[in-house]
Every structure is written in structure tokens, then in C-alpha cells.
């Protein structure tokens, strides 16, 4: 349903004003004092799903800060943005985290980068900026130059949360074996059980959003977007282009839509095969790690042939795509995807009865349906817990409205469920690729684009392999974005980790975190510090596996005794 029709059905009183930014996006101008009530209305009456928050410094043009809360109305295929103006003299905003736990990080990021503080926030610590970043300096404000390097605050230190009573602290990271990204996790453990955790991430904060609104043009920012994540680069560059196109009202030629779907599914296949290998690597099943990546490699060569690079395809453009697939592309594509399908099915058949694998994956890392909704997780993490959301169906983009595909949902909520979701999605992606090659029409691949008009809002979602990636964009007056907010899927998924790990064994922590397919992987070697005696014990992977087996047989013995 178009935004305009939807507005007439909404019943919001008070000083709230509604308007359409574009056919897919409803802007709701809410004063700060009515924000919480409006957010509750969107959540409960309109069945909205919180996506992200974007703060902006509009003091030069409107004399105020602005905070936008983006919600997805999945059943109606629309986005709704709650826009609040904030007085610069008193930069505070009521927090929505108390009733939307998934908004925790988003609000802290607005505080870090713009300086608008959420009141009554349960965890107001610094999130994004480096520990030695001075207080009171907010990078996304317009008076901060993107290439400034303020002097270090030597007193800056990250403060860990107080652990629950009678628990020890396990520090993991930032550099760790098999940790593909630096991240610092403190697990609070009692014996073998995890009773809580504290997380310090954002070691990869590179200042991307600032560069797009201070230094790079619309065209250059496409390549910036592509390198947000090295595994789903096409997702972010296409999502950015879509946000610009929504804002500026640019129509894309049909062939370009199909090509975008094609390249996106290409990326999904390689990403999921990569994950299957990595997940097995975390639990020590290196055979499957090697086999999964062996199956995947010809696909990378195919991508290199079709796009010019194995991973950073570089094909997104505002108005369409930059390059078509070569004439003889289909001749090379079909044998490769047929072979992957055959080999993957053989592997899946082989592991169905694998007792060790099932023991490690079934029943571990359980994320309940309620928790998944509360933390607004997305992608296979959500679908593995029975939450039926998929941006390709709920907010159709590229050619997905014309393609026939199944959204893979499992009910278990454990690591096995998430594994099965991803395996099924690879097979679905292969089917989608075949459909695209058959249905793709001839024609131009890129629309002519004039100057992008300023002060237009565009919101776009793309289903990355990890979940929904959402970009919010406000166009600016000098042919670059005024504000660009990227919300990657792992941003929401990582917030669900504490709920997932609660009550789990330490040995199940790596695969549980890894099953989110975050843009980092987890531990195989941990140092345990006993808070009281100060003794340090280091566990090797073999020991962890033994601990796991011992704990399982202990459980079985105690169950046998009870029964």
C-alpha cells in the first residue's frame, strides 16, 4: 500500500504531523514529549519493527538537532520515520529503550556522534567512539572536520558492567585466535555456566558516515559503502544507491533491477557457504570447513569473471548498475551453480546423521521467539527463532517482487535451526539465480541521473546474508549526502547475544555467537580469571571439547537418575 493511502488510516493526535517523504516512507514529525507515546503506538497498534536511529546536526539550516527513529511496517511494506527536533541548548531526548530493548545501541550512538543524550537509558556508556576520544567532541556535528584528530584523553577507559554476584569474568579479545575482527567480550561465568556478558565493540569504527556527508560525492560514497563490510559489500552499495534513488525519485530500468537481484544473490551464496565453513571451524570440524570453502571457490572465480573482482564487485551505480554480465556469462554460470547445488546437497545429506555435530548444535544457543522480537534481530538469526521477516518480501526492491522464492523459517531457535536456515537459503538463492537468468529483459542498465535534489529523505532495506541492512539518507545541497545512516544487520543481532548465552555452557559460546554470522567470529581459546584468587587458567580447544563432552554426559547421568 502506498504511503499516502496509509496515512489516512493512522490515528495520532497531539502535535504530531504526518507526511510522505516518498511512496515508501512516511515521515512523522513528533515533538520530544510525545515521542514515547508515539513509539508505543507504532509498536503496538501499527505492528512496527524498530530498525535504527539517525541523529543529524541541522543547526545551520533549522537551528536544531534532529533525531530520526526508523521503523519498518513489514505487513504494509512501508517505512515510518519518527522525526524529532531537539533544542541545541538542551540536547536530550526521551529514550525508547525501556520498551524497545533493540534500540539500546542506536540511541547510544546518537549520543556519541551527535551529542543528543537519551534520558532514562539503562546503559548510557560510550559505545562507538574510541576510549581515548575526548568528551564533548561529537564527530557528526557539522563544525567537526572529518579529518581532525583531537588530542587523546589519557583518562579515557572503558568501564565494565558490574558482574552478577559469585561470578568470574572471562575476558575474550580484542585479538584472539579465529576472531576475524577485534572485539572485546567479558563473559560472566559461574562454573561452566554463563550468567551474563559485557561487550565492547566498535573497534572497526572508521568514520564512514562522516566521510559521506563531509568529503565524498554521491558517486564516491558508493565505493565507501561497498567497503563497510568485505563480505556483503554489494548489499551496502546497492542499499545506498536505492536510498538515493528513493530520495530523488529516480526510476531504474528493468534490466538493472534484475541484475541487482542477480549480484545480490551471488553474494548470498558465497557468504552462506563461507559461514558454513567457519561455523564448523569454530566447533573444530575442520573437514567441513575445508570442504565448504572448496565448494565455494569456483564461485569466487565465477564472480571474478562476471564482475571483475572476487568480492568487491563494484557494480552498483545511482540509477542502475555499472556493468552488464558478459555475453557468455550464462554458459559459465549454470555449470558452476549446478555443481554447487549437487555438492551442497551431498554434504547436507552426510551431516544429517552426524551425532557430534547434532550434539553441538541442537539445543545450544537458544534465542526464544520473544527475545528475538524484543531485540529486533533480523535475518537468519530471527528466522531461526520463528520470526518470519525478510526484506526481499516485506520491502521489495530490485526484481524480487517478480521472483518466486521461499522465505526459510525454522522454529527451533538454536544453532541447528540457524544452520538449516542458511543451508536452505543457499539452495533458494540458486533457484533465484536461475529465474533471473531466464526472466531478465533486454534493455539499458542505467538511468540518466541529473543533479540530486536537496533535502529529500530516502530509506531503503536490502536483505543481506546476515539480515536486513537499512540505510537512511537525507540529500544535501552540494551533491553529497547531508546525513547517511547505515544500520548493518549485525548491529541488531549482536544485541541479542546476552539473551542467547544466558545459562549456556562456556564451550557453547563460540558457536552460539558465530551462529549469528556476525562480522566477527569468536574464541577457541579463553583465559579464565578467578576474581578472588587472581589465578589465571587458559583453556585450549581440546580441553573445551572435553569439558563439553563431560558436561553432556553429566547431564545425561543426572537425567537418568531422575527418570
Amino acid at each position: 500500500m502506498l504511503a499516502q493511502q496509509f496515512i489516512s488510516k493512522i490515528n495520532l493526535n497531539g502535535k504530531t504531523r504526518l507526511s510522505c517523504a516518498n511512496p515508501n516512507t512516511i515521515m512523522v514529525d513528533v515533538p520530544a514529549e510525545e515521542l514515547q507515546a508515539t513509539a508505543r503506538y507504532v509498536l503496538n497498534e501499527l505492528h512496527g519493527r524498530f530498525i535504527s536511529s539517525a541523529g543529524a546536526d541541522k543547526r545551520d539550516i533549522a537551528g536544531s538537532f534532529e533525531v530520526n527513529q526508523v521503523f519498518g511496517l513489514d505487513q504494509d511494506k512501508l517505512f515510518m520515520v519518527l522525526r524529532t527536533e531537539i533544542e541545541p541548548t538542551q540536547p536530550v531526548i526521551p529514550s525508547i529503550t525501556p520498551f524497545i530493548p533493540g534500540a539500546n545501541w542506536a540511541e547510544r550512538e546518537v549520543r556519541d556522534l551527535i551529542g543528543v543524550t537519551p534520558t532514562d537509558h539503562p546503559d548510557p556508556r560510550r559505545l562507538v567512539l574510541p576510549d581515548d576520544w575526548p568528551e564533548g567532541v561529537y564527530p557528526l556535528r557539522r563544525d567537526f572536520r572529518y579529518n581532525e584528530h583531537p588530542a587523546a584523553n589519557s583518562d579515557g577507559r572503558w568501564k565494565m558492567r558490574t558482574p552478577p554476584p559469585d561470578s568470574s569474568v572471562l575476558p575474550i579479545g580484542p585479538f584472539f585466535p579465529t576472531l576475524e575482527e577485534p572485539v572485546f567480550i567479558n563473559l560472566f561465568v559461574r562454573g561452566e555456566k554463563i550468567v551474563g556478558l559485557d561487550y565492547r565493540g566498535f573497534f572497526n569504527h572508521r568514520g564512514i558516515e562522516k566521510m559521506a556527508d563531509a568529503e565524498l560525492t554521491y558517486q564516491q560514497a558508493i565505493y565507501l559503502a561497498e567497503r563497510i563490510c568485505g563480505i556483503c559489500g554489494t548489499v551496502h552499495s546497492v542499499c545506498y544507491c536505492q536510498a538515493v534513488e528513493e530520495a530523488a525519485g529516480i526510476q531504474i530500468p528493468e534490466r538493472a533491477l534484475y541484475l541487482r537481484s542477480f549480484y545480490l544473490e551471488l553474494e548470498r551464496v558465497h557468504s552462506h557457504l563461507l559461514w558454513i565453513g567457519l561455523a564448523c571451524h569454530f566447533i573444530g570440524f575442520d573437514t567441513l570447513f575445508m570442504q565448504a570453502w572448496r565448494i565455494r571457490e569456483p564461485f569466487m572465480w565465477l564472480s571474478e569473471y562476471l564482475t571483475g573482482a572476487r568480492k568487491t564487485y563494484g557494480i552498483a551505480a545511482i540509477g542502475g548498475v555499472l556493468r552488464d554480465i558478459p555475453q557468455d556469462g550464462p554458459e559459465r554460470i549454470h555449470p558452476v551453480i549446478d555443481r554447487i547445488e549437487k555438492e551442497l546437497l551431498a554434504v547436507v545429506d552426510a551431516i544429517q546423521g552426524d551425532g557430534s555435530l547434532r550434539q553441538r548444535l541442537l539445543g545450544t544457543g537458544v534465542l526464544s521467539n520473544e527475545d528475538a522480537r524484543a531485540y529486533c534481530v533480523v535475518g537468519p538469526t530471527a528466522r531461526g527463532s520463528g520470526v518470519d521477516i525478510d526484506a526481499r518480501r516485506d520491502h521489495p526492491y530490485a526484481a524480487y517482487a517478480d521472483l518466486d522464492f521461499e522465505v526459510c523459517v525454522e522454529q527451533g531457535g538454536d544453532n541447528w535451526a540457524r544452520t538449516m536456515v542458511r543451508i536452505r537459503e543457499v539452495l533458494e538463492s540458486i533457484k533465484i539465480i536461475r529465474q533471473v537468468l531466464v526472466k531478465m529483459p533486454a534493455g539499458p542498465i542505467k538511468a540518466e541521473v541529473d543533479e540530486i535534489p536537496p533535502w529529500k529523505v530516502g530509506v531503503s532495506s536490502v536483505e543481506a546474508p546476515r539480515g536486513e541492512a537499512n540505510h537512511y539518507l537525507l540529500t544535501g545541497p552540494v551533491q553529497r549526502a547531508y546525513r547517511w545512516r547505515v544500520r548493518a544487520p549485525s548491529y541488531n543481532n549482536l544485541q541479542g547475544i546476552p539473551a542467547m548465552l544466558q545459562g549456556q555452557n562456556i564451550a557453547d559460546a563460540p558457536i552460539s555467537v558465530g551462529s549469528l554470522d556476525p562480522c566477527f567470529s569468536c574464541t577457541e581459546r579463553m583465559g579464565v580469571i578467578d576474581q578472588d584468587s587472581g589465578e589465571v587458567r587458559v583453556y585450549r580447544q581440546a580441553e573445551l571439547t572435553e569439558m563439553f563432552i563431560a558436561s553432556r554426559s553429566h547431564e545425561r547421568r543426572s537425567q537418568a537418575k531422575k527418570g
Binding site: 580484542p174 576475524e180 577485534p182 573497534f203 569504527h205 568514520g207 563497510i228 572448496r294 572476487r310
Partner: protein, 151 residues
């Protein structure tokens, strides 16, 4: 450092530690790819180790963000001599697309002494193998700075 000792130490196989200093993961998964069947760098005895204490070489990716810089320095100090630092990818070799951002240090060479740079975004697994082989003196350097002045 005695270069004869250095050459002798690295004659056979080197053990590498992979450190992500704020990279997007593109270079990291290409490094992992080098272990997988098609490229199998383990047949040369090169393997990834899980502690810098065992490492002969550090494979560093990423532009070195401000947040990770101190930890990277500590990692470098924890690695015993003789050691090599190999910067992998455009972010590590030149700072990448965000070389002048407020949140990055502009490349590994601004933080650690680099022995070999492997450019690419991300570099192909073959390029990474070539770079490591070059660090061991097995293959020659193929690039040279080019200057042209119009007559």
C-alpha cells in the same frame, strides 16, 4: 639484526599470526582462503598460529583504527624477534578509502615498521601467497615506481 641469522630463521616455513586492525573483513577472509584446498599454503609449512608468542610474522589487515592502535602495539611487542610485519590490503598499505578519517591512523606503516606490503582491495589469495613468498625471498618484486616527463 644479523641478516644471516634472519635468513636462516626464515629458510623453511614461517608461522603467521593474523591481526585485524579495523578491517572490513574482506582481506581477512581472503587470508583464510589461503588455507583452503585450492591454495593450501600449509603445504609450504606456513600455518596460522593462535598466539603472537609463536608467530614469525604478523599479517595485519585494516587501516589501524584509533581504538585498536594501542592493542596492535601491544601485540607487536608480544611477538618475539625475529619477526616480520606484512600489511595486507589497501587499508593496511595505504590507509584505504578512509586514510584521512578522524577514526583511523592511515595505514599500518604509521604504527608499525612494515616489511612487505600486499596491495589489493582485497588482494587475491594468490597475491597474498606471492607476498608472503616474496617476504621469504622466494620470488622477485614485480613493481617499480613509474615517472614520465613530457618532452
Amino acid at each position: 639484526m644479523n641478516s644471516r641469522l634472519f635468513n636462516w630463521c626464515f629458510k623453511k616455513s614461517i608461522w603467521v599470526y593474523h591481526a585485524n586492525a579495523g578491517a572490513c573483513n574482506g582481506c581477512d577472509i581472503e587470508i583464510l582462503d589461503v588455507l583452503t584446498p585450492y591454495y593450501d599454503v600449509e603445504r609450504f609449512g606456513i600455518r596460522i598460529v593462535h598466539t603472537p608468542r609463536h608467530a614469525d610474522a604478523l599479517l595485519v589487515t585494516g587501516p589501524v583504527t584509533r581504538q585498536v592502535r594501542e592493542r596492535l602495539l601491544r601485540l607487536y611487542e608480544a611477538t618475539p624477534e625475529p619477526k616480520l610485519v606484512i600489511a595486507v590490503g589497501s587499508c593496511a598499505t595505504g590507509g584505504g578509502i578512509w586514510y584521512d578519517s578522524y577514526a583511523t591512523c592511515g595505514g599500518v606503516k604509521n604504527v608499525l615498521p612494515v616489511d612487505i606490503h600486499i596491495p589489493g582491495c582485497p588482494p587475491k589469495p594468490e597475491a597474498i601467497v606471492y607476498g608472503v613468498a616474496q617476504a621469504l625471498g622466494m620470488v622477485p618484486k614485480q613493481v617499480q615506481a613509474q615517472t614520465y616527463i613530457e618532452e
